[in-house]
């Protein structure tokens, strides 16, 4: 789990559904055990033993359902061992309490059916070892239960009966594991989606917030103020597009954009920095249209960093293109920083490195205190 606060998780929901299914199986079995109760009540030949075993089984079903309703969590390993252990004990007791003629194929001899429901409901427990131990106890109990009445002519019936427990229980375990895994994947997907939405929001609003910070400065010179206002209008547009649920990236128009155009548009908002554009080596380079928006936003973010933090006297944007790849560097001769010594801010981390990486553009940051900063972006040219 990645740790974001979310609505109730799919895993919890899946566990509740498995719990309800287990309770339904146990209560359904209780209904099917009714002939045993009637026989114990009406026919003295079945004796007290049938009544007692029925009462114990009924008490276990009720206890299981009550615990499930109050705890609302899956049964634990000790609970499963106790439950299956009682079922196995009832099977062994059945060898004496259930008459031989109704021991197989009758709900008066309810113990095998009850044991099957216990094995199936135990599948909800995530502890596979506990389930296997319980299954083994039940199978041993079944051997004792049928031992005195087993005949060779009924071998197929008996084998089928044993296999039913193993196969049905196994299917229940596999289904429970599948549902649990599916729910865990759904939770991870939901968290990733939430993180992606947070990242998108950070990308959309980071530059805008930086512009707000700039506009809030009381001693802004007129040139910077004019540039900031122009840029602020573009950021307002991006923010509105995001809030209205529209895409902020290009979806129509030409399939590629000149790299130099992306650079010139981004640099146009920073007349106060007067970045020197060295674009000769990339005058023919084209970037795929879907990269133009993120690349432009990344450049704006980089130049905002220079404006706000670098204290630079010179900023140079250089572009080169050769053999189907382009390289763009943004360099300032400002104060620099130690990239390994600080956490990158939203701008460098999300708007530049993260967003560009998702479009196949690599970012390298080279800086040292007192030595300025160079950010190098590398991508594949559009054909």
């Amino acid at each position: 789990m990645l740790g974001l606060p979310l609505t109730p998780s799919a895993v919890v929901g899946a566990e509740r559904i498995m719990l309800i299914f287990a309770c339904a199986v146990r209560l359904g079995t209780l209904v099917e055990m009714t002939p045993a109760a009637i026989a114990a009540w009406t026919s003295p030949s079945y004796g007290v033993g049938t009544a007692v075993t029925w009462a114990v089984a009924t008490a276990m079903v009720i206890a299981f359902v009550v615990l499930a309703a109050t705890r609302r969590t899956l049964p634990t390993a000790p609970m499963i061992l106790l439950d299956t252990g009682v079922a196995a004990a009832l099977l062994i007791a059945g060898a004496w309490t259930v008459p031989a003629d109704v021991r197989i194929g009758s709900w008066i001899g309810f113990e095998p059916g009850y044991a099957l429901s216990v094995v199936i409901s135990a599948a909800a427990c995530p502890n596979a070892r506990a389930w296997l131990a319980g299954l083994t106890m039940v199978l041993v109990g079944k051997v004792v239960y049928v031992w005195s009445v087993a005949r060779l002519s009924e071998a197929t019936t008996l084998v089928g009966d044993f296999l039913t427990v193993v196969v049905m229980g196994g299917i229940a375990v596999l289904m429970a594991a599948y549902i649990r895994g599916l729910a865990a994947e759904a939770d991870i997907a939901r968290e990733l989606a939430a993180r992606e939405e947070q990242r998108r929001a950070r990308m959309v609003f980071h530059n805008g917030v930086a512009m707000l910070g700039l506009l809030a400065q009381p001693d802004l010179d007129p040139g910077t103020l004019t540039a900031a206002r122009t840029q602020a209008r573009a950021e307002v547009y991006r923010g509105r597009m995001y809030l209205s649920g529209s895409s902020t990236s290009a979806t129509a128009g030409p399939s590629s954009t000149p790299l130099t155009e992306v650079i010139r548009n981004a640099a146009a908002g920073f007349p106060d920095l007067a970045p020197q554009l060295m674009l000769d080596l990339a005058h023919d380079a084209q970037v795929p249209a879907e990269q133009a928006g993120p690349l432009g936003a990344a450049l704006v973010s980089l130049l905002l960093n220079v404006r706000l933090h670098a204290q630079a006297s010179t900023t140079v944007i250089h572009a080169d293109a050769e053999e189907g790849r382009w390289t763009l560097t943004v360099h300032d001769d400002g104060v620099g920083f130690d990239p390994s010594g600080i956490d990158l801010g939203v701008g460098l981390r999300d708007v530049v490195t993260g967003a560009l990486a998702s479009h196949g553009i690599r970012t390298e940051i080279d800086s040292a205190a007192g030595f300025g900063t160079t950010v190098t972006l590398t991508g594949r040219s559009a054909p």
Binding site: A274, Q276, M278, L279, D280, L281, S313, T314, T315, V316, H318, T329, H331, D332, D333, D366, A368, F371, G372, T374
Partner: protein, 221 residues
Amino acid sequence: MMRALLVDDTTIVRESLPLLMPSIDFVAAYSHVDALIAEALPADLVVLDLHLANTTQPGVRQGVAAIQALVELGYRVCAYTQEERRFVLAACLAAGAQGVVSKSATVPATTEAFHRVAAGEFAIPMPLVGLVELLARRRSVTIASPRQLEVLAGRARGLTYAELSRRMHLSEATLRGYWADLCVTVSTYFRNVSPGDLERELGVGPGDLVSYWPTPGGGGD
């Protein structure tokens, strides 16, 4: 102290530059080149504005013609200009100027550039560095040394000598040496290239550079 002569038609520049750059001894300041030539005072450097003609002194020598005239007299010339067109800046180097400094540069940067040119180094402005990189990529300018190419690539990306030194593990003095050698190569290229060849390299129209380019014995504008 370095001795300089200043030629600029703007009075405020002639009077303020000596005040702003106390490390330079501006021996004399003139509004046009012919006045300087008439006195022909000795100096380590001539700081020359490219555009000198105005209503009070129409028809005076300016641009590459002024540079050529000064270079022929043995002066070391640094153009100090608002001009940004790269082929005009290249024409200055072709005419023999040892440096071109933008009037938009800061006072410390300008002062340092004047000192370096006076000491025999070249001062090539960033727009021209980009042009040189392009010419080197097209192999129009032959730069034999890989180290020189590295220095050129770094300078074109705005790296200072200190940053280049950190990256290339070479001393700043060594790097400046590479750059000086490269500047000689570039200067020689501009002096020898024909305007037509450069027009093709720059992708400008035929004849666009001719009126700006120096001609043997003085010319251009």
